[in-house]
């Protein structure tokens, strides 16, 4: 099994079992929409999938190797965007993205970053500290990473938060384009995805007591 595979995952948070024996498979060319009520463990599952947190039992593999191991090359081929924007508020959007690209070993020029910021609709604001931007603009800067890093696997936690309708539309069409080009996306959201996002598969998490 290639792609991102989770086998018999168990997650315990605050001594509550969020899920047990969970199996999940994400292949290229697929958009997976993770649904579930608040507290069901959607964020926990996404963080487990990226290897940010450690499961109580079970494992997550990417191309047959555990995600955290360098041989899986998962971090070269994936982007995770969580609730937190991952932007330092004291630095400008341009600086934030430049350092991020350097960390993720993506070679880009300054004009490329400015162009991407243009695409996501943050024009002319690249030089002011991120703290001065609105929540929606900060989210757009965070999302600009999707255009900058040529990664096939996107793990997105509530990417639509704070976006206006134009932003939602832009992101959904980008989803479709990415999946059509052979990418893979797993995402959560409180609003259902519209037809613009293309076909998608549901994965439901239930709230357990």
């Amino acid at each position: 099994m290639t792609g991102l595979v989770a086998t018999s995952l168990t997650c315990i948070k605050r001594d509550r079992v969020l899920f047990e024996n969970l199996n999940l498979q994400l292949q290229t060319g697929e958009l997976m929409y993770l649904r579930g009520p608040n507290g069901a463990g959607k964020t926990s599952l996404l963080r487990l999938l990226t290897g940010l947190s450690m499961p109580e039992a079970g494992e997550v593999t990417f191309n047959h190797a555990p995600v955290q191991h360098s041989e899986s090359q998962f971090y070269r081929q994936s982007i995770y965007l969580g609730h937190k924007s991952g932007l330092s508020s004291a630095l400008s959007a341009l600086d934030n993205l430049t350092y991020w690209c350097a960390q993720h070993q993506v070679t880009v020029t300054e004009s490329q970053i400015v162009n991407v910021l243009d695409v996501v609709g943050v024009t002319g604001l690249e030089d002011i500290p991120v703290a001065m931007l609105s929540a929606g603009q900060q989210r757009r800067v965070a999302l600009a990473r999707l255009w900058l890093k040529p990664a096939r696997f996107w793990v997105l936690d509530e990417p639509f938060t704070a976006l206006d309708t134009a932003g939602v539309a832009l992101l959904e069409t980008t989803f479709k384009k990415h999946v059509d080009e052979g990418g893979a996306i797993i995402t959560t959201s409180h609003q259902p995805l519209s037809a613009r996002a293309g076909t998608h598969r549901y994965f439901d998490l239930e709230y357990r007591f």
Binding site: S53, S85, G86, S88, L91
Partner: protein
């Protein structure tokens, strides 16, 4: 290596430059703590010389504790830390670089103040040289060991006082060896053994602590 330099080291320095006003605060704190001692104990030059090394070292430990929280807190809260951990770069190396730059911009400058403090507390030149050497070896030790506890408490609300509770007992051997080195210097005795022990502890900390810091950051991400 280039990714570490351009993505982590340069970013740390840029952030430090943005927060330069905050970086001065531990320095001022140290100066003020040292000033309290002559006022509280009396200005007798001999008394001051007697307690001087201990006072300077205690002030250095306290002020480094004060500034240490900044090491991971902001990056943790705004999510930069999780992006760093998902970059595929070894987390232990990232941690080592962050600790080193933190020492460079925040704890290291304590050394700059040391001549002034030595003058305040009436230290002789021999004592001052010994003090400077112990600070040079000891303050990075504070940063490397302290970073483990900072990584553990970064997710805890109001972790500041907790950090001090965790670290003060751990720093006691350093305080003992550092002050005794200066005391030996005051008596014209060799103080190389004490320096060697501090150096050995520093080397051990540099070798082991990045892995412990990486693990503690992973625990905090859970």
């Amino acid at each position: 290596m280039r990714a570490l330099y351009r993505g982590v080291l340069k970013r740390e320095l840029a952030l430090a430059f943005q927060h330069r006003a905050e970086l001065v605060q531990p320095l001022m704190f140290m100066l003020m703590v040292v000033t309290l001692f002559p006022l509280g104990i009396g200005p007798g030059p001999e008394t001051l010389q007697r307690i001087g090394p201990g006072v300077i070292w205690i002030a250095a430990i306290l002020s480094s504790l004060l500034g240490m929280e900044r090491l991971f807190r902001e990056d943790f809260q705004d999510g930069s830390l999780e992006q760093l951990m998902l970059s595929g770069l070894p987390v232990s190396l990232i941690a080592a670089i962050k600790v080193f730059t933190h020492w460079l911009v925040s704890t290291g400058p304590l050394l700059i103040m040391s001549p002034l403090l030595a003058m305040f507390l009436n230290l002789t030149l021999d004592m001052y040289v010994a003090l400077l050497l112990t600070l040079l070896l000891g303050t990075p030790l504070l940063s490397f060991v302290g970073a483990i506890a900072v990584g553990l408490t970064v997710g805890v609300q109001r972790g500041g006082i907790l950090l001090a509770l965790l670290l003060i007992p751990v720093f006691i051997p350093l305080l003992i060896f550092a002050t005794s080195a200066v005391d030996s210097a005051a008596l014209q005795l060799p103080y190389l053994p004490q320096l060697a022990i501090i150096g050995a502890m520093l080397l051990l900390a540099i070798a082991v602590s990045p892995f412990a810091i990486a693990y503690s950051l992973r625990v905090s991400q859970n």
